[in-house]
Symmetry: D2
Subunit: 305 residues, 4 copies
């Protein structure tokens, strides 16, 4: 028997890819689809599974997968968040040994390929822009926690960005910049308020679109002196405009676009031709939350305090 | 000295990432961008470079990179094809030892983030859908060859696809399908006619949009009995509608969506819930060309005749 | 001015790729290399950078990059951990506004291509197996925290794995398994004790090899009734054998290998032919630590308590 | 009916992932594994499938998948090449409408995790270095063509590489180099002679190891004035030493390692500290073959002459 201590542990089936088709209209010829990647993690009384290989408390990961697909039929997929809430509550209430369940969802967006000549509409092209994300955690003790988010949304301002006035130490060679490209690939998560999470009528798709729009507008409208300033403006704008969001965390890699030196060729590069670099990149991360609210979104740290 | 024969060889700088900004309007406040990945390959008299390490005939790959960036300033980027034509001709005419040059371009599309409250427009979000491609080859002997294309355009029909009546041999277990999802990630290349390639006024952006639209419409409108049939319909539609295209080659992975068996849970899956598989996948490839035209687009074969 | 609260934030240059060459021997003809990917994150007094764009407290990310390369020359790269400790301490002690620094390192291993006919040895092939990782965090308040780890180490037992006796609910269809393949891609992190972290003579390469070996041996020698049991055995073995390690966290995706049904072809599949699936996969995660020690390694959770 | 011409087309199931376990010894306790990714492409009389959706000539891609798994049981996997030859011949001889079959195989290598304390040996770690490749094409008309290869083998010389004496044109800024790192990720294909391909006793594993070793040794031992020179030396060495190989094609990206300028920090960088760049990269490709032999390996061109 181990003399060591088993601490946080979880298990489940990850990356269940599911496409759900809904038929609308009197003849069902109008199709709508949701395209999801659903992961399940269960936490509870799993000491024996780890120590003796006794699986008496273990609901197989295969069963969690089956449940995801069955729930899509039984309950439909109203939104990533709504679907995740149903699943998380199900696992915790179905087995006493499961104390907490966490559901993570990615959603891939599709747009309709319109065919004007026919009534039936069942053709789609994947949008390919950002991936929508959600994480739902439920336990009897701590209740329901709903985080929403997006990732891989790449944006650029081709001017109205400066960077100067910074510390210069022995290792500083960077020139001050008064007109540069600012580009980043937005990864955002936001914590929804407890009343929103508890509201079965909450329109998750609409609040997603609102948050997304306000972040993009803040990115575009901010005259930037640093990517940190832009990050804060984006989070602020969301908190100012979407009352059901309590906290925003942004992870903004600074995708460098370096002005190419064309002088050796007798050419002046008047902020026209840039080299788009892959690595290294600046990485700016931060959380902004409403006053009086406890932040809950994990940082990207490996270490807990 | 080697007693073996040096055959086809080529070299150059690959994946030069370039963002070009153009300012429009009397005050230059309206920005437009093109975001390209440009690769250069040169062919010619490189026997000594390989056999003795004498680099007297070798234009450095670094120089080919510099040329890409300098040309973006000197000539602008009207389109991937137009930019590639300029570069290919330059290399062949600039050094006698370069007999042929091939330029490959990927273009990433961006859409404007509109800011109604200001006149300046310089904010963009990457579209993230298909990647546009072009390959331009030029030599004094064989002239100019311009291929255009796209890749990573994922599309789906959620009905109007069947597959049956096929061969059954000892290893066949597949059930006949009378209503299935048909999904694929389109990779397409098309060969432009010599007059189009030679026409300095040819509108490459417009012909790209036309080809793309006709392929999507053919995919959406074809009632499919096999992905091969859909492939042929897509190519046909392009040849019927875009007179400057002589040949189309399509590479269509059949992205399988398997209907999930929900009967063990007492549920009927009426074409509603699918598992989207990654691998293995069907792979359907084919070339369709105008009668009387010699096909020029390489197959995905490793082996030449 | 924002009425919201700026919480945890950090910034720096990520993924600085560095290859360091050391020449040994009287004539320097024996080369050794270390191939690293180094990321820097700084935490401190950055409120003004976020709120007003005043960069007076901001050491540029470009400077943190320069520092990484300069330190490789000034101090050498003894190991990922030793190099990270030097960098973390440097940033915190160099600027009063930097309260905490976190350095993350990936190391890619190379093996020598031996050339028996010559004395000089400077040829290498990348091993391509696991990536070694390290994370070093330093602040004046909390001192030094050194985590080590590895990822992408794929292992398989082709027998001696069972899985049965599990919960059966309405959604369970999994058959009990008495002989299956057990395969996983190991991601491991371990926390080093404070004395080891503080010991400038600590041999980080040696302790890495010890941990790696004990994990592999435990994987190979454990007759497994669940991947959880194997996980616990691997962590136990490390804690039993490497006294400077206080805590181990393992992230073990269950890479499913499904026995292919060959009966339709009149063949018996006696655990010989398997389909190796990509997705979905089981995901088993857990922390094991010494009694009396506080666990510090972050879980993969998005949410902090 | 289409008025256009259907040219080269092919179809099949791609990326069938298969792990085959063989038990050796009187008690079967010594396990050996082969881990393959097998793709099938069929060519033949498929005009009706494309034009009318009549699948009467179409062997389903699903059947080709089943055949791959069944053959692993019926015939075993002696080597990627031997397995591919069996499959290619089977498809062409099993159905008159299949005129040619092409099988592509990737193989992933594993090494044994030795457990000295037990007789049973069934534990493995994936090596993670190069991927072995093979392509087998068979038709009644053209007979058997067997290409072998490898990819993703990253190698480096930390000295003994120069580059100078090159052409300087208006766009050249590159400095001549007299001591640089030479690093590349080798992708190689080689054509086996017809007698070797026809010899059922040919030891494909042994010839693979021989080719691999000679390429690595040539890379390590060549004092290089250009990557082209190294490429040619690698191919020459294989042709000189492996009599069953007629032709070698190499695709060698020049993975740039830039010497970091440390002078601004008062440090001299004596070829010690390098920045390893991702993109752009030089790309050097070439074919070398025996005199009197017709080259058959496809170039990376999109265009056939």
């Amino acid at each position: 028997m181990s003399k060591h201590v088993l601490a946080q542990n979880q298990y489940g089936k990850a990356e269940n890819r599911i496409v759900a088709v809904t038929r609308k209209g009197s003849d069902g010829a109008w199709h709508e689809i949701r395209d999801l990647n659903v992961s399940v993690a269960l936490r509870g009384e799993y000491r024996d599974v780890h120590l003796t290989g006794d699986n008496g408390n273990c609901l197989p990961t295969d069963t969690t997968k089956n449940t995801v697909y069955a729930f899509a039929k039984e309950h439909g997929v109203a939104s990533p968040e709504a679907f995740g809430i149903l699943l998380a509550k199900h696992f915790v209430t179905s087995q006493a040994v499961i104390h907490e369940a966490q559901i993570r969802v990615e959603e891939y967006a599709w747009e309709r390929i319109s065919v004007p000549t026919r009534k039936e509409q069942h053709s789609f092209a994947r949008k390919g822009q950002e991936v929508r994300t959600a994480q739902i955690t439920y336990s009897a003790n701590t209740g329901l926690q709903v985080l929403s988010g997006l990732k891989d949304l790449t944006v650029m301002n081709s001017t109205n960005s400066e960077f100067h006035g910074f510390i210069k130490d022995r290792y500083t060679t960077l020139k001050e910049a008064y007109d540069r490209i600012l580009a980043t690939k937005v990864a955002a998560r936001w914590a929804n308020s407890a009343p929103a999470a508890a509201d079965e009528e909450h329109d998750w798709d609409r609040s997603y679109q609102k948050v997304r729009r306000h972040m993009l507008e803040a990115f575009a409208e901010t005259y930037s002196h640093s990517l940190q300033q832009t990050l804060h403006a984006m989070a602020d704008r969301v908190l100012d405009n979407v009352s059901t969001v309590n906290e925003v965390r942004l992870n903004l890699p600074n995708k460098h676009h370096f002005l190419v030196d064309l002088e050796p060729f007798g050419l002046k590069n008047d902020n026209e031709v840039y080299f788009a670099a892959d690595r290294m990149y600046g990485l700016i991360e931060g959380t902004v939350h409403r006053d009086g609210v406890q932040p809950v979104i994990a940082t990207s740290d490996w270490i807990t305090a």
